[in-house]
Amino acid sequence: MWTNMAAHRSTRAVGLLLGRCGGRGPVRVEVLTRQICQTSGLCRKNLAAAGPEKFSLEFIQKQVEDFDIGRRHLANMMGEDPETFSQEDIDRSIAYLFPSGLFEKRARPHMKHPDQIFPRQRAVQWGEDRRPFHFLFYTGKQSYYSLMHETYGKLLSVEKHQDRMRSKGLFSNEVKNMSLSSSRWLTKEELEALLVENVSLQDYEHFLQLMERLLATPYSAIQEEFVLHYRRQLESQSKKQAVPPLERDQAGVAFSTAQGRRKTSQSSVVLRDGGSGRISVNGQDYLAYFPILQDREQLMFPLQFGGVLGRFDLQCSVSGGGRSGQAGALRLAIARALLSFLSEGQMEAMRQAGLLTTDPRVRERKKPGQEGARKKFTWKKR
């Protein structure tokens, strides 16, 4: 019973040491103790204040070794060469050995290198004599300030170069600046990931201001490599419509191929010039494949819009989905294939008409607690 109580409550004893003065007898000490009981509430760790979990260097190294051994075992299991077993092979093997139907890809079993699983952490900042490694350690933000120091150093070197050119009389204002239109500056999060340190908004803005100042000086092109290291390529440029190339077969007939998608249907169309308006879908005549007028109208719309109804022969293949989805997929494919035979103005007109846009609408899923995607159960007031 006593041990149970001790497990729940920790007790501290406070003692006072008293010595007797007087040299006659041996010194006697009396210890008075006072029991202070603490509840388990104080002993509980403050998990929220602890911050992200820190992994020691030995732990990470052990994980790396274990991963490598596991990779070789997996290669042997799959009957492949352990030396050339790459990450794609690992993913493939895991997907084969542990098939999972979970929708969330991140919840599926995976086997990755520890560097991609454990977040990058700071190693211990000082050596055995406890002298810190970095000369700006005592500022608290050593990576950020060393970056600022380096950037300022580059700025000074650019200005020195400019002074030298001026003294030689070779200074010119029309020095070519580097093209920065296709890139953007790092975001604050990317900078934090690069420096492995927290960067505040003001610090980030100061960094950008210093970089802009560097770029504003005339001969900044000599530090191009340094600046580009902190810029990222812009993901999407203004995309022009991809026109399928015009090919010619052995008989000299011009043709073009294009793909189209709608709902769950995928289609591929070959548009041949010099024909008489014959259309075959999956080997069948279009009249037999699409008995409904609406579907055939969908097929005809791009040709009628371009005014080339009787000129082309169509050879189509379509799979997946229902009749309306297949018709829509074919319409998109025909419109795309037609682009290689039309002028710029006609292409723009087709784009305005909406013939070249993939319809993004797909079937919305049913939600639990409702009849369908939107329909709710009968609402009862009470």
Partner: protein, 266 residues
């Protein structure tokens, strides 16, 4: 109180060494344990000699050869601020006032600078951590480069509150604080005394400071009266400190090689 301390000593620390030695406090006779000299190893002798040898001469590292009065004058160290900016405690260090401009006494500066550089050299010889602080944006890059070149540390940026006083939480447990702080300019950007002077005094860290005629030299261990505004002056100071520290470290390496020791950590 003395008796309590006595018994604490009895029970706590010295129980391993048991030679009886008698002494008296306030007329009463006591006998208690006293320390025996434990047999010392040879390595201890050599490292002790390494540490005490520089203390035998007043200017072991010959820092007074690094600068002369003419160098200080050419670098405009004697130029202070205007009379209105004068700090009362700087009056002993001033030579005079010419056309409202304060002139710092270079003889005094020579002495103070020699003491300061000698102290820096001894700290660097013993492998201490030296931190250069200045809040002047003009010289931030110069000071950081100087610190990097002599293998010491610099802080010329915004001073966060608890860097010295709350070090275990700021940097992590077990951090080692600087053994010497050198202020190349004691004022911050709003012309108030830098917080680090007070914090270093709280943490018992000795400081060296270049005090201009508008600065307060009271809390600084080794104040050096001199200009802190001109680029040429700052370059002189940085050069002097760098040369002192490098000289001291080279001397240490030389002594260690001479006595056949591997590079020690202390």
């Amino acid at each position: 109180m003395a008796a309590r301390a006595l018994t604490k000593g009895l029970l706590g620390l010295r129980q391993s060494r048991t030679v009886a030695v008698g002494y008296s406090i306030a007329g009463h006779q006591y006998s208690t344990a006293a320390p025996i000299k434990a047999p010392r190893l040879q390595v201890d002798d050599v490292s002790e000699k390494l540490l005490t040898l520089p203390l035998e001469k007043p200017d072991f590292f010959r820092v007074s050869e690094l600068f002369s009065l003419k160098d200080l004058f050419d670098a405009r160290v004697h130029l202070g601020h205007k009379r209105g900016c004068r700090h009362r405690l700087m009056e002993p260090y001033l030579y005079g006032c010419r056309l409202d401009h304060d002139i710092i006494d270079l003889d005094q500066t020579m002495e103070h600078l020699q003491l300061a550089l000698n102290f820096t050299a001894h700290i660097a010889y013993r492998g201490g951590i030296i931190l250069f602080i200045s809040r002047r944006r003009q010289f931030c890059h110069l000071i950081e480069t100087t610190a990097k070149e002599c293998g010491e540390y610099a802080h010329t940026r915004y001073w966060q509150g608890g860097l010295l006083t709350n070090a275990n939480i700021q940097y992590g447990p077990g951090v080692r604080l600087p053994d010497l702080i050198v202020f190349l300019s004691t004022l911050n950007n709003v012309f108030q005394q830098h917080v680090a002077i007070r914090d270093a005094a709280k943490m018992n860290i000795p400081t060296i400071g270049m005090v201009d005629s508008n600065c307060n030299p009271s809390l600084i261990t080794y104040p050096v009266p001199g200009n802190d505004d001109t680029p040429i002056t700052m370059e002189l100071y940085c050069r002097l400190f760098k040369m002192t520290i490098n000289r001291a470290k080279d001397k240490r390496r030389q002594m260690e090689l001479l006595h056949g020791l591997s590079p020690s950590s202390s």
